[in-house]
C-alpha cells in the first residue's frame, strides 16, 4: 500500500530505564531530606544508579519499519511492560531515545477508560477520545464500531450491566477503528471468546498489509509466532535475542530452562537432567504435530521413597492438562529409592497435539505416602507447529472413507 516506504515506524536507540527498589518517599516527611540531598548536590544523577536502583530496561535497541510486526517476549519481570510504556510515551527513558514516526496508537487494556455508569454509546466516544480520536471521527465511525462489536441491542445500557466479554468486545471495536500508522499491542488478544479472538487476529493480520508498524508484547509464544515474523526476547531488561521468530522461540525456551534450573534449590527430589529429542536424537524444542519425541530425565532423590515413580504432564498455556501419565500407570514397577539415588525415566511420545505451546512437567510420585505424594521438579516449554489438518486439541490418528452409499443395491441383493 501507499504507506509502505513512507518512512513511518519505530526506532529505539540504546534505551535504558531505571527503577527504584522498595518504597519511594511517599509522605511529605521524606521529601525534606530528599530535597536537601538535591540542594547539596548529593542526589543521584538521572542516568546513574543509586543504592536501591536497578536497570529495568538496559540498552534495548530495535527498529520496526512500516508493514513490519515485531513481537516482544520474555518471562515475568523481563522489562516487557516497561519497554511498552516507554514506547507509548508514558515513561521517559533515562538514557537513549525512542523515535516514533507516524500516528502512534496503542491497544492496551482496551476497556481501561470505560466508566461503568455511562452507556455503551457514551463510552464509545469517551474511549475513542482516550485513544486519541476526534469526536467527529468517532461519530463518523460509530456505525462500523457498533457493527464490529455486536452489542447494538445494549448500546444505551450502562456498561456496568455488560458482561466482561461484551466490555472487551466494545473496547476492542473502538480500538480497532483508530487508524494507526504505528501500533503498540499488549496481550489483549487473550480476552473474549474464541470467535472474538479470531476477529482480533484477523484485524491484527490485516494491519501489516496496510503498512502499519506493529509492536506486539505478549508472553504467549504461539500468538507472537502467528502474527510476527520477527521477535525480540527480553531477559532482565536486556535483549537476549533479536531476529526471526523461529529462532526466537528456541532462545525463549532455553531461557525458561535456565530459570527453571535456578528454581531447583528447594528441598525435595531434585532434577539431574531433562531433555527432549526428536526421532533422530537431536535435542529440540519445536516439533510438528504428530512427530515422535523422546523425553529423558533423571531425578536425584533426597530421602527414602518406598514406591517411587516418575511421570510426565503436558499442559497448555491456559494451564489445562492435555496429557499426563506416570511410569506406574504404564505398568513399570515402582522403585524403592534411597536418599541420593538417581532415578532415570525415558519416555517416547507421539505429539498428537494441536499447534501451540505445551509445558512439559516432570513429576515425582510416591505411591507409599498417603495420600500419594506428587511433586513437580522441572518444566520445559515446547512448541508444537500444527502440520496436520484437523481441529481441536488432540490428533486422534483417524482413518476415514467417504463414498456415496449404494442405497438401492443392498436391498435387492
Amino acid at each position: 500500500m501507499a504507506t509502505r516506504g513512507s518512512g513511518t515506524g519505530i526506532v529505539a536507540d540504546q534505551v535504558w530505564k531505571k527503577f527504584h527498589r522498595g518504597e519511594v518517599h511517599d509522605s511529605l516527611r521524606d521529601l525534606i531530606p530528599a530535597v536537601a540531598r538535591r540542594m547539596t548536590g548529593r542526589a543521584v544523577k538521572r542516568d546513574e544508579l543509586g543504592s536501591d536502583d536497578f536497570w529495568s530496561v538496559r540498552d534495548v535497541s530495535f527498529r520496526v519499519e512500516a508493514g513490519e510486526a515485531l513481537g516482544i517476549i520474555g518471562p515475568n519481570g523481563a522489562g516487557k511492560s516497561t519497554t511498552l510504556r516507554i514506547l507509548t510515551g508514558i515513561m521517559r527513558p533515562d538514557r537513549g531515545s525512542v523515535q516514533i514516526r507516524g500516528r502512534l496508537r496503542a491497544l492496551i487494556e482496551v476497556a481501561a477508560g470505560f466508566h461503568p455508569d455511562l452507556t455503551g454509546r457514551e463510552n464509545i466516544f469517551l474511549n475513542g477520545a482516550i485513544l486519541g480520536m476526534a469526536t467527529g471521527e468517532v461519530s463518523r465511525k460509530l456505525d462500523r464500531i457498533v457493527d464490529f462489536s455486536g452489542v447494538e441491542a445494549f448500546l444505551d445500557t450502562p456498561v456496568k450491566r455488560y458482561s466482561s466479554g461484551m466490555m472487551a468486545r466494545l473496547g476492542f471495536s473502538v480500538a480497532a477503528h483508530m487508524d494507526p500508522q504505528v501500533l503498540l499491542v499488549d496481550e489483549i488478544l487473550s480476552v473474549g471468546d474464541m470467535a472474538f479472538q479470531k476477529k482480533c487476529f484477523s484485524y491484527m493480520e490485516g494491519l501489516s498489509e496496510q503498512g502499519v508498524a506493529v509492536v506486539f508484547v505478549s508472553h504467549n509464544m504461539s500468538a507472537i509466532a502467528r502474527l510476527c515474523p520477527n521477535t525480540m526476547v527480553l531477559h532482565q531488561g536486556a535483549v537476549r535475542f533479536l531476529g526471526s521468530t523461529d529462532e526466537a522461540q528456541q532462545a525463549y525456551y532455553s531461557l525458561l530452562d535456565e530459570k527453571a534450573a535456578d528454581a531447583q534449590q528447594a528441598p525435595g527430589p531434585s532434577l539431574e537432567s531433562f531433555e527432549i529429542r526428536d526421532a533422530e536424537g537431536v535435542p529440540k524444542r519445536v516439533f510438528r504435530s504428530g512427530e515422535r519425541c523422546t523425553v529423558r530425565t533423571s531425578v536425584r532423590v533426597d530421602r527414602r521413597y518406598q514406591e517411587f515413580s516418575l511421570g510426565l504432564s503436558l499442559a497448555m498455556p491456559s494451564g489445562d492438562e492435555s496429557f499426563h501419565t506416570t511410569s506406574r500407570r504404564l505398568n513399570e514397577p515402582t522403585i524403592d529409592a534411597q536418599a541420593g539415588d538417581v532415578i532415570e525415566l525415558t519416555a517416547e511420545l507421539t505429539l498428537n497435539l494441536a499447534g501451540g505451546s505445551q509445558t512439559v512437567w516432570v513429576q515425582c510420585h510416591d505411591y507409599a505416602g498417603s495420600p500419594s505424594e506428587v511433586r513437580r521438579v522441572a518444566a520445559m516449554e515446547i512448541h508444537v507447529q500444527k502440520s496436520l489438518d484437523f481441529g481441536g486439541i488432540a490428533y486422534l490418528d483417524p482413518s476415514v472413507q467417504l463414498r456415496k452409499a449404494d442405497s438401492g443395491a443392498g436391498a435387492t441383493d
Binding site: V98, L104, A106, E109, A129
Partner: protein
C-alpha cells in the same frame, strides 16, 4: 490508504535538566489543543456521572450555594443582633454572589486533587497529556457553577440589586478565579500523586478555608490592617471584587474607603486586582511547568 499529510515524528528521550519555562508552557498548550476532544469528553463524563443515578439531578448544582447562603444568613444574623442593626437584603445579596465562586473553588479542588489517582488505570496504561485530567475536572465544575451563577444573577434583582456597568468586572474576576483554581488543581493533583498526605491537607484547607476567606463577612470588619491581611488570600479579592462590582456597583479601578469605628478603612484598591492577576497568571504558569516536568514520573510513582 493514501496519506498526503507529513509524517508526525515524536522523540522520547530523558528530559533535560534545565527547565525551559516558555518552551514547556508552549508544549503544554499544544498538548491541550491536540487533546481537546479528550478534554471535552472527560469533562462531559464528569458532568454526566455527577447527575446519573442522582435523584436531585441538576438541583445539586445550586444546593451547595444555597447551603452557603443559609449558613451566612445565620452568621450575619448573629452579628447584626449583637451590634443592634438589622440584616438587610444587601447582605444576603452579597452572600449569594460570593457563594458561587467559593462553591466552585471547593468543588473543583475536591474533585481535581484526587483525579490522577482516581484514574490510575489510565495514568499507568495509556498515554495522553496528564494535564487533561485535572483540567477536565475544573471544566466540569465550571458547568455546575454556571448553573448556580445564572440562578443567583436571576435572583439578585429580587433582593434589590440593579446591574450597572461595574457588573462587567465579573468577567475578568471569573477569569482570574478560573486560572487560580486551575493552577491549584494542577499543583495539588500532582502533589497528591507523590505524597498521599496532600489529601488531608486539602481536606483541612477546604473545611477551614471558609473562616479565612471573606464569604460570610467582609474584610473591613477586621479593621484596616486586618482587611489588608485578609486580602492576601487570593480568593478574597475575587470574592470581594464580585460583591463590590455586582451588589454595590463599585468600579474596581477606583479605590473604595468605608467608614469604620475609628478611621476610614480601605475596602478596595485596584492593586488587589493586580495582585490577584499576577498570582493567577504566574502561579498557574509555574504549576503548569512543574506538572509537565513531573508527568513522565506519574506512572512510576502512582
Amino acid at each position: 490508504m493514501s496519506n498526503t499529510r507529513p509524517v508526525v515524528v515524536q522523540v522520547w528521550s530523558s528530559s533535560a535538566n534545565r527547565i525551559r519555562v516558555f518552551a514547556t508552557l508552549a508544549e503544554t498548550w499544544r498538548d491541550l489543543i491536540e487533546y481537546r476532544h479528550l478534554l471535552f469528553q472527560l469533562a462531559l463524563r464528569d458532568v454526566r456521572i455527577r447527575y446519573k443515578q442522582a435523584v436531585m439531578g441538576f438541583a445539586w448544582a445550586i444546593f451547595l450555594p444555597i447551603l452557603i447562603v443559609l449558613s451566612g444568613i445565620v452568621v450575619r444574623y448573629a452579628m447584626s443582633y449583637l451590634s443592634g442593626t438589622t440584616l438587610d437584603t444587601d447582605i444576603i445579596a452579597g452572600l449569594a454572589i460570593k457563594s458561587i465562586p467559593w462553591a466552585f473553588f471547593v468543588g473543583a479542588i475536591q474533585f481535581s486533587s484526587g483525579v490522577l489517582i482516581a484514574n490510575r488505570n489510565l495514568v499507568t496504561k495509556i498515554y495522553f497529556p496528564r494535564e487533561v485530567l485535572p483540567t477536565a475536572s475544573v471544566l466540569a465544575q465550571c458547568f455546575d457553577s454556571a448553573i448556580g451563577g445564572l440562578a443567583v444573577l436571576a435572583v439578585l434583582p429580587l433582593l434589590g440589586v440593579s446591574y450597572g456597568w461595574a457588573a462587567l468586572w465579573i468577567f475578568p474576576l471569573l477569569a482570574a478565579l478560573f486560572l487560580f483554581t486551575l493552577g491549584s488543581s494542577l499543583l495539588l493533583s500532582s502533589a497528591n500523586l507523590f505524597f498521599r498526605d496532600v489529601k488531608y491537607i486539602v481536606r483541612l484547607l477546604l473545611t477551614f478555608g471558609i473562616f479565612f476567606t471573606p464569604v460570610f463577612f467582609e474584610p473591613e470588619m477586621f479593621g484596616g490592617t486586618g482587611a489588608q491581611l485578609m486580602m492576601l488570600n487570593p480568593l478574597a479579592p475575587i470574592l470581594e471584587g464580585l460583591r463590590l462590582a455586582v451588589v454595590e456597583g463599585h468600579d474596581l479601578s477606583q479605590t473604595l474607603m468605608v467608614t469604620g469605628t475609628g478611621a476610614d478603612i480601605l475596602a478596595w484598591s485596584p492593586w488587589y486586582l493586580v495582585y490577584v492577576f499576577a498570582l493567577a497568571v504566574f502561579g498557574t504558569a509555574a504549576a503548569a511547568v512543574l506538572f509537565h516536568r513531573l508527568e513522565f514520573l506519574f506512572a512510576e510513582y502512582i
